[in-house]
């Protein structure tokens, strides 16, 4: 989970498991104190959620004047308010594997066809134009697949 440290405004983080035990802690002064506070807030938040007619609390954030903390899915991140990208902290992108694989295969195929069609005599029995536009179309479709693979926008809380 090195990605966590690359989040904008990252200061430190702590990861806890279902039982509330610390799995990872980085640059946190009093990890056990912080975990106690998180556990208390989750319990309290769940009670409040029920009182207001919801099922559960999915996450929370606490804002200080310079730094803040967010907690979702067992991960508490401390950030610098000025530098943080809150959308990154609350949500993340997932990648559609099928789309990535299809895209990569098409791009590789198109590069091979460009190479064999233009620089070798393998496809000399085909007219020159298709040797350019077939791989071009494949390349375009491949790039579209790669672009779409990132479109699945997931919620960090799920």
């Amino acid at each position: 989970m090195d990605n966590i440290k690359k989040l904008k405004g990252y200061i430190g983080h702590i990861k806890i498991n279902e039982e509330g035990k610390i799995e990872e802690s980085s640059n946190i002064d009093y990890p056990s104190k912080l975990v106690d506070i998180i556990k208390f807030n989750l319990k309290k938040g769940n009670e409040e959620a029920k009182e207001l007619g919801f099922n559960k609390i999915n996450g929370f954030a606490m804002f200080g004047s310079g730094k803040s903390l967010t907690f979702m899915k067992g991960l508490c991140i401390i950030v610098d308010n000025e530098k943080a990208d809150w959308q990154d902290l609350f949500t993340y992108y997932t990648y559609n594997k099928t789309f990535i694989i299809t895209g990569v295969v098409l791009v590789i195929l198109s590069i091979l066809l460009f190479y064999y069609g233009l620089l070798t005599s393998v496809f000399d029995f085909i007219a020159p134009e298709p040797r350019i536009y077939i791989p071009t179309i494949l390349l375009l479709i491949g790039v579209i697949f790669l672009a779409l693979s990132k479109s699945t926008f997931s919620y960090r809380l799920e």
Binding site: I11, D29, Y30, K33, L34, I37, F40, N41, K44, G45, E48, A49, E51, L52, G53, F54, N55, K56, I57, N58, G59, F60, A61, M62, F63, G64, S65, G66, K67, S68, L69, M72, I78, N81, D85, W86, Q87, D88, L89, F90, T91, Y155, L157
Partner: protein
């Protein structure tokens, strides 16, 4: 200014223990219960910030209840659709105190 931020359901001002809607849709939440919860959470948050130090001075909190975002900072309460809103624009505006034009 929250006018251009997607997914905002309603904005409230919190004054003397009461929530008053400034703009947005009606929400199906008991406002008295919500007011009490806000006050309690601010009290808890302030104590926790004192213990943790890095959160001082405590300004507010956000909670995501199911798919609803509840953000409370500087006496303003913003209710959002947690999946549709842009949290970056939202929280930056709120922390800058740009909840409403006149505020």
């Amino acid at each position: 200014m929250l006018d251009n931020i997607p997914g905002i359901i309603a904005i409230f001002r919190f004054r003397e223990g009461k929530l008053t809607k400034i703009q947005g849709q009606d929400i199906l939440i008991d406002l008295d219960k919500l007011s009490n919860i806000i006050m309690e959470n601010m009290r808890i948050g302030e104590n926790e910030a004192k213990e943790l130090k890095f959160l001082e001075s405590f300004r507010g909190f956000a909670m995501i209840l199911d798919d609803m975002g509840v953000v409370f900072v500087d006496d303003y309460l913003v209710i959002t659709n947690a999946k549709k809103t842009n949290w970056d624009l939202l929280i930056k505006a709120i922390l800058k105190g740009e909840v409403i034009r006149s505020g």
